[in-house]
Subunit: 693 residues, 2 copies
Amino acid sequence: MMRLRRIPLTQIICMGLLVAVARADEGMWLLDRLPEAELREKFGFEPRPDWIEHVRRSCVRVGAGGSASFVSANGLLMTNHHVASDMIADLSNEANDYMKSGFYARTLAEELKCPQTELSVLMSTEDVTARVNSGVTPELSAADAQALRRKAMAEIEKEARTRTGLTPEVVELYHGARYHLYLSKRYTDVRLVFAPEAGIAFFGGDLDNFEYPRYNLDVTFLRAYEDGKPARTEHYLKWSAAGPKEGELTFIAGHPARTQRLYTVEHLEFLRDVHIPLVLSAYNQREVALLQFMGRSPEIKRIATEDLLGIQNGRKAYGGILEGLLDEQLLAQKRKAQQELIDFINADPRRKAAYGGAHRMLAEAIDRCRPDYPAYMMTTNRRTSLGRLYGVALKLVQAAAERARPDGERLDEYRDASLPSLELDLFSEAPIHDALEELRLSDGLVRLGRVLGGSHPVVKTALAGRDARSRAAELLTGCTLKDVAVRRKLYEGGSSAIAECDDPMIRLARELDPLVRKYRAKYEDEFEGVEKEAYGRIAAALFELHGDRVYPDATFTLRLSYGTVAGYDEPDRAVPAMTTYRGLYKLAAQRDNQPPYELPARWRERKDKLDLNVPFNFVCTNDIIGGNSGSPIFNRDGEIVGIVFDGNIHGLVWDFQFDMKRARAVGVHSRAIIDALEKIYDASPLVAEILGR
Amino acid sequence: MMRLRRIPLTQIICMGLLVAVARADEGMWLLDRLPEAELREKFGFEPRPDWIEHVRRSCVRVGAGGSASFVSANGLLMTNHHVASDMIADLSNEANDYMKSGFYARTLAEELKCPQTELSVLMSTEDVTARVNSGVTPELSAADAQALRRKAMAEIEKEARTRTGLTPEVVELYHGARYHLYLSKRYTDVRLVFAPEAGIAFFGGDLDNFEYPRYNLDVTFLRAYEDGKPARTEHYLKWSAAGPKEGELTFIAGHPARTQRLYTVEHLEFLRDVHIPLVLSAYNQREVALLQFMGRSPEIKRIATEDLLGIQNGRKAYGGILEGLLDEQLLAQKRKAQQELIDFINADPRRKAAYGGAHRMLAEAIDRCRPDYPAYMMTTNRRTSLGRLYGVALKLVQAAAERARPDGERLDEYRDASLPSLELDLFSEAPIHDALEELRLSDGLVRLGRVLGGSHPVVKTALAGRDARSRAAELLTGCTLKDVAVRRKLYEGGSSAIAECDDPMIRLARELDPLVRKYRAKYEDEFEGVEKEAYGRIAAALFELHGDRVYPDATFTLRLSYGTVAGYDEPDRAVPAMTTYRGLYKLAAQRDNQPPYELPARWRERKDKLDLNVPFNFVCTNDIIGGNSGSPIFNRDGEIVGIVFDGNIHGLVWDFQFDMKRARAVGVHSRAIIDALEKIYDASPLVAEILGR
């Protein structure tokens, strides 16, 4: 399943702001800059402004990692089960395990409020490039220029918030060629309406993840509330009961998180040889530790399942990317394109003066950042954290210091515009399970030592002269941060409250914070500064080379992609575009109905009610990536024909190169969703709301 | 379970030949150098020469990784199920899965011949130090001196073989302070007599591995044959039907593979920061890959189980060692002892001249070998190989080159004395499963890239410009080496046959061999040479400091340890020395009889026949390590009271430091074995043979 591979916000903002040249059905297009000529020529389709506006306001961004869409005027929205599974797991307990049993609220009163959830809808965009760059002169150093831009961005956001009451964000596009002010409406009261059993949402589990053919009902319905009542949502996507046909034009609108399509060869080699191996090694260690841990009892298994699914998904995704990057043929294409661009730049003295040296500059910065990169990763990346309570402690410690500074000088995630999200996270009542925290912490401590070596200052500070297990026990025994009131008090008390606090986890965060900041500053100053400058030049040169057939690299902002429903060929077989319910039952039988191919009881009992020829999942050529999970797939009339939940294994290379020979987006068919709701789940009221009956 | 952590023979021979100073029940003693004073003082026991000779000749070394003992005059021998599980798995197929069902041959005719198995019994030892060192003068370089010694060793072995017909091996002890000629009797016709179900042999699986209390019937009976008839074994250990009592003196004789008790702090830091992280990262990746793979079908699960068990065991063992080495308190003890030794050396000009500088010299060599160590590990270590067929191909390629050289100039594993083992391995008929080979190869190729980076010559050579999956398919499709006759022909054809062979796997091995040799030579020359010299000095200084209360570090040669049956304390509870059958059934019930706590059907059905108070497993303070698996535990009368199958988690640090506060050896009780054979397996004839009735 195409979970967003979680990356710190700083990375999303700073690393992926590139441009790319479109080919075939390629492109994650900004809604105000669609490839109109291509759509007209290939499909005879011309998107009208009201069509675009309607799509934009029907699309929803979920928390820090997924997409959704409104499907009724009463705030009903559809996303993937795997996007909502954090919420579903948080709402579950030993007695009511909704991950296992599924959930359906027949009435509004039965809908369950999800802790720690944030949705947002993009209401308007505005180009603020000139204002962000005002005062920035060529004489300024990169760091000074960036500081000036940050200050301007903070002011623009502050002013916009006061003026509109909406949530502002200045987003950087085309690697700084453009800055847009995005104004979003936020929903924080979100309730669970319907979720199927994890067994059918993720049928085939990790084994079939990123594979095709597939048979997953990876769908969940939520409802946005305002002032305690269902939100009134004027814009929502209507439903196509028939669903898509083979060859039909499909649109996907959602929030692809990050692509690196313009990365230089040297940068890709750095990902291949340094970054991805670190990530994979962290994933592999944690997956093994979790599998061991989950053998202890069914309850332990339940509480750790979410962590496991996330880890397995990431491991498979990054493993696929690594395999792609190890394929010399793919890198050879990149190398050729890069040389062509360098030749184009050098062929003209003006271009050479404006864009020259970018590739070399970047390669040198990569070499410089390499030695301390593991320490940066281990202290900053969410994938390598020491558990939820340590995460809370570090945020409290950093927030105290950062909030005392002017907005423009803060670390990104502590700027005023980001504080609502920070607070939502810090004060979430989502349950924290002692045993799971202990595992995360002790495994994380060992991982620090394994990656950085036992003499590294980070490791010595973290272990404090103890063995990992004893240290984890010591830190957790005295930790008071499970209590949200304690967190709130520390947050409100600021620097003095933090300084006086003798909670062992706060103490650890206080001791590690200077190191965390040191490696982060080093990376951001030495690498990201150069990266920004270099990709700015590369992007500009590409603009000049290719004209305006370009889209910005994905940045977790709203994008639209187009394509068609189409199967593909594997070396040994043709893979049809669609699967059916019949295929689902056949596969379950082949695998003796054993996990992960075990059908939930309801699906076994009600098989006869289903028309087994109904299409279940399908693939299309639309250009998507992690973060697109939960995006609606719709037709030219703006009617939902399905929902994206995955890409196939060939699509993993889409991070850095689009290809439509075999790579595909994978979705659930709209008719299958309706059939399941009616015949398996007796959810006629929900169906009526969706179909507008 | 305490599987031998597999290491190439070169490492066993070259890395672990140190001495250590004994404390408490510490010590893996040579049989001709037992701690007589201690045994007398502590236990009033004086081992007579005939007692020692009888023990020596009753003990058996299994293949390249375990221990066993003769238990009847007709070649019957006992080892662990997990030591024999390679053989049991090789004898199994889809129709008869003896791992799952267990196996019992009621008659000689029913005994099954194990492919690729080699047992040996140490018949005599002789000190050949003077002869090995003859001609070695202080003027010679370390490399020249070593070449001279190797030549002498080869000659000694050759001569001994001709003279005695036995299998000779010159073993290095006390890091070269002593060389002993070991003459062994080899058995290659070994048959399976009895194996329980894996479900009871490894009850609790990976979850309970290295834990205590335990409930494992980790025992298997084999029979050595000579000339097609059961071997007549004059020396064998009699059986104690009553088994051991708490506090009773216990001996363990077996083949501990490798300890590093004298390693310097810097060397331990190298293990902690470089070697073990590489190993663990390889294990984690493979474990995750195998678990995915095994979900494909029950048959795939069956064929991959052996690989998985080995990987999980190694991962847990190395993980425990890493945790131990990350414990600053433990390293602080080492640091203190090291400083005392350095002070002792420096306090006297003669000692300083003889032993000084060893620690510094070693630290510098470690720093030098660090950059290319990953390439050495990835190309030489068995844990990081590219599968069985590649292993066969590389051996064939290297054997062709090496056998053309004089014996003394060859790589160790191709010396004449090693050829019988090499040939046994090369020409083994053990089944090779296509799907498993493909997994090992493609996963191994990705691991190469992940560890070494995509631009490394080893990776580029191995992938040959393809992606890992396509490359694996290409290599396996054309590979002819599954056919043992093909291997034999290539082996016999020597260099010209290899040069002309166009098997893709042989081609790959031919292309990689220069790189394999380059990194190995670099490591052996730059590191092992210095290591040998440095530890030689350190060992000699320690002899001088501590007198003769020393034993050599483990080297997979026969050793005797002593101790007592004793429980221990965990922070939160006292752990009794023994478990019972009652405890087994209780635990199975607590875990709902689900894997890995699922009792085999026979055990569920025949519960009533057992006396539930019979002791099942027990712990003792004897000093053991990987390779000791299958060692007999016996009393002062030389009667078997149990069999070693594991150490507890605290015993993992025994690799580099003995401690008897909580660390324990874990064994199966002799009475439990008899009871199970009689009451669960109806194996009265086997019991009669064991008890000499």
